[in-house]
């Protein structure tokens, strides 16, 4: 009987997403770029030909050549090595801020979406106040209050992005909340926390993952912008935005000092966006053709 054949098409959810993701070469490219960049930066102590602080004014402003792939800066430091070490900071600020903001954002958005009515109103109005300010402005204000440094940068970017995550998550949660299987969970006497953790969150995982992926890109940009403005991470740390800022004065004669860090940011953010878009399509809950 053909009943057996109905069994053979089983694939886990994860496998399904993975297969669909692999079908979009651009998204896979984005993923690969991120992977390569992240690995390279993590392995900076191994890969980088020079230390990020290795100064030698005799070789300052060297054009890119085989010894110094991206040239050297005003203090003779190797730009390529600084990019690798700097990437660790830029990427870390981006990932950590996005992740922490996601946790808080999901918590706020989740509680607002699940309990609805008054709770929803209160939480969302508070977040509205934060969102009334442009994200960058908010980050600047908080960073200015906290002073320079990695910790300050992370906190500022995190707080500035929480409201958007909360809002992005609240919609899908409201939608799921009204599905019958959530009602069914109430009917079998499930506690509120069980319903949120077991029934609602796993079903909004897709939008959350996509948001976080895209959010890392925007966090990296924000962190770089803060450094550029003299807030956040400052020299001698080779954070990419700080590198651009320091190189501004040399832009006419030694434009490569600005170009390479700029390209690094652009490529990473672009790759994250492609990855996020690809994930969003791969996770589209329309399994049935």
């Amino acid at each position: 009987m053909n009943q057996e054949l109905l069994l053979t098409k089983r694939r886990s959810m994860f496998e399904e997403v993975w297969i669909r993701f692999l079908r979009k070469p651009i998204a896979v490219l984005g993923g690969l770029i991120i992977l390569i960049v992240t690995l390279s930066c993590l392995l900076a102590p191994v890969i980088a030909p020079y230390d990020y602080d290795d100064q030698d004014v005799t070789r300052k402003f060297t054009e890119p050549n085989k010894d110094f792939f991206f040239g050297t800066d005003n203090l003779g430091r190797d730009v390529f090595s600084r990019l690798l070490y700097g990437g660790r900071i830029s990427l870390m600020v981006g990932f950590v801020s996005a992740s922490v903001a996601a946790v808080f954002g999901v918590a706020f958005g989740g509680i607002a979406g699940f309990y609805g009515k008054k709770t929803d109103n209160i939480i969302m109005r508070i977040l509205d106040v934060f969102m009334a300010l442009p994200q960058m402005l908010l980050a600047i204000v908080i960073s200015a209050m906290l002073g320079t440094g990695i910790k300050g940068a992370i906190i500022a970017v995190t707080i500035a992005t929480i409201p958007r995550y909360a809002q992005a998550v609240r919609g899908p949660i409201l939608a799921i909340r009204n599905q019958e299987f959530v009602e069914a969970a109430f009917a079998i006497d499930a506690s509120d926390s069980r319903i949120i953790l077991r029934h609602i969150l796993p079903n909004v995982l897709s939008p959350i993952i996509v948001q976080v992926t895209l959010g890392v890109g925007s966090a990296i940009t924000m962190a770089a912008s803060l450094s550029f403005l003299g807030l956040g991470v400052q020299p001698p740390y080779p954070e990419w935005g700080a590198m651009i800022s320091a190189a501004r004065v040399y832009i006419l004669d030694h434009s490569y000092l600005v170009t390479f860090p700029g390209l690094a940011i652009a490529i990473v953010v672009l790759a994250l966006n492609l990855l996020g878009d690809g994930l969003r399509d791969a996770m589209d809950p329309r399994w049935k053709e």
Binding site: R10, E180, F181, A184, A185, A187, D189, N203
Partner: protein
Amino acid sequence: MGTMLEVRNLKKYFKVNAGLLHAVDGVSFKLEEGHTLGVVGESGCGKSTLGRVILHLHDSTGGQILYHGKDITNVSRSELSRLRHEMQIIFQDPYSSLNPRMTVFQTIAEPMEIFGKFSSDEIEHRVYEMMDTVGLARRFVNSYPHELDGGRRQRIGISRALVLNPKFIVCDEPVSALDVSIQAQVLNLMLDIQEKLGLTYIFITHDLSVVKYISDDILVMYLGQMVEKAPSDELFTHQYHPYTKALISAVPRADIDYKRKRTQLRGELTSPINPRPGCRFATRCIYSKPNCFIETPELVEVSPNHLVRCHYAREINCL
């Protein structure tokens, strides 16, 4: 066999922007153990809300619910926990009533996990037992809902409702979303397990042939109110309320010798928000008189066990 469930003047109103929506407005009935009460009506009549209010998935706005004689209208959380094991629900949509991220096993096992007093062996044993009872092949135990068809998904929903041995189940349009041949399989199943386990059902549906097939008594609802209630056979032989007449005559029969009468309804459904006094069916009723728009009719027993809410039920039916 005693009265398992009694509902007295049950009301559920929702606050909406435009005012107060009378979803359920004064429903009363008694349900004997082992019997099936069919609740029929069209969209907006409140039948689904009625089922959910009885199960405390919505809070009631007024009236009483009595379970085995005890008032459970406003129960404590812990008492509600205990009740939930005895009173269960089967939903209409086999697509949205199952968590897409949980396997068949997880869905059926969950009520036991929540109850907390079962070992994992006992849970596994019971899950397979349930799958056998509802005719779901064991090989699907680790499947996800999206891999299965509507009929199988509905069986999962039924197992989930049965797993803790309930006494009473609200069936909210359990076969409406299924194909005809699957519908027959699931209806047979529901009758079998009712017999085997001594279950009491409230069967909510818009399908008149199904309700006649499965119910002992039938309640007809319109815009939140009970308009007629009678034993199943009696209702189909003698309908007294103009809405019931229109409803029954509107159903097309699979019989080419049957000539369906032209519809006996005027106009459209009126709004359940802030309803005016008078009969709510009056604007559509072909028998309506001026009085119908002013005075709200009461439920009256016009023949043994047969209740009607209509001023002129006797005249219209020559009783």
